[in-house]
Subunit: 196 residues, 2 copies
DNA sequence: TCGACAAGTGGACCGCCAGTCCAGTACGTT
DNA sequence: AACGTACTGGACTGGCGGTCCACTTGTCGA
């Protein structure tokens, strides 16, 4: 599991594959970034990609995890208002801004995750478990909402707020550089939520 | 274009295909409802399905259009609060309720639309134009928001609000019969929006 | 009533993709 | 140096959306 215990060539290929995926995602539409294309761009065989990441979903999640790492750290141990210490309302606003920024900076990746989620073979019965990053974000947002508005079904409200990050039209706004508008729209909704 | 001018057998097959799609969507996961499966279930050839609807997306949009017809009528010419006459705020709340109800009643269809959108070959350059039904809903919501809050970027806020209808986690809540919670969560957001 | 022609039909076919398989390769350990 | 194992690559599979075209069948004017 920890990358440090992997064979040197495996580590090298892991990095090459992640870098190639990033590169392709930055220059092509997500559904054009096939696993084979990634393998070719990384200079490895298709089997290697699947051996390492298991599936398209696994590859995308891993890439997303790297991108979301610093935000996760900031939320858990960083300084307020993102980190612990500030009142929940402020933390929520800060988180929304941060998350929109993160998604905007990685336009194609969220779309690719969504694409992978609907494309990936659904052989197993546990069907739809969202990717771990979404789960973490949702848990955080729901907890903050619950702290300010215990009267609301925080889980559901959190899902609705985060839905924008998976919606095609919003993703397109972000690609078009309208990240600031999306963030401010979300802020308006959150503020309205907090002010009873 | 008008279905009445079609040959009798073509009309019959059109209905059979739509009915079969509905049936399959109600009993299987959307990504398992392949065009071939639809053709078989309808008792026609694959070519007929494509001749009539052009693509997977076209089929799903057509089905959605039928389902959304009565809502569209109610909004344009029906009685308040859904139809014209009531203040924008009330119309917006009524519309949100109605739309959540509609989506809940057609669980699989929205997911299938989303799936079609990401799956469908993207040969042409006009890339992402959302399906007409989403466009209509968005225009309506944006207009109502603009009427109550001219200071906000109504388009963007409308996209964020409607995003829930395309988000997998929310769609799952709806499938689980939690439609009422989703509707109330959206109401809370809208109310917060309207109360400055 | 009938014949002709456009509209409708069906299913073989194409290219593409996620994911599998396994024979071969090369790293790290002793 | 020699060995076992984890890693590697690419041919292969199954299934998809969509195309093609020879064939059939409603429709409508004469």
């Amino acid at each position: 599991m920890p990358h440090e215990r992997m064979r040197a060539d495996a580590q090298r290929n892991r990095r090459a594959i992640l870098a190639a995926t990033e590169e392709l995602l930055a220059t092509h539409r997500p559904e054009q970034v096939s696993m084979e294309a990634v393998a070719v761009a990384a200079g490895v065989g298709k089997g290697t990609v699947f051996h390492r990441f298991g599936s398209r979903m696994g590859l995308m999640v891993e890439l997303m995890r790297e991108r979301a790492q610093s935000l996760g750290d900031a939320v858990e141990t960083g300084p307020p208002p993102l980190g612990p210490g500030a009142p929940p309302g402020e933390r929520l606003l800060a988180f929304v801004d941060a998350v929109v920024g993160l998604v905007a900076r990685n336009k194609g990746l969220l779309a690719a995750l969504g694409h992978a989620a609907t494309t990936t073979t659904v052989g197993h019965d546990d069907s739809h478990d969202a990717h771990p990053i979404y789960r973490a974000w949702h848990a955080h947002v729901a907890a903050l909402i619950r702290a300010e508005r215990p009267d609301l079904p925080a889980d559901v409200v959190a899902h609705v707020l985060l839905a924008g990050l998976q919606s095609d039209p919003v993703l397109q706004l972000l690609s078009a550089g309208e990240g600031a508008q999306v963030a401010s729209a979300l802020r308006v909704l959150v503020v309205g939520l907090l002010e009873h």
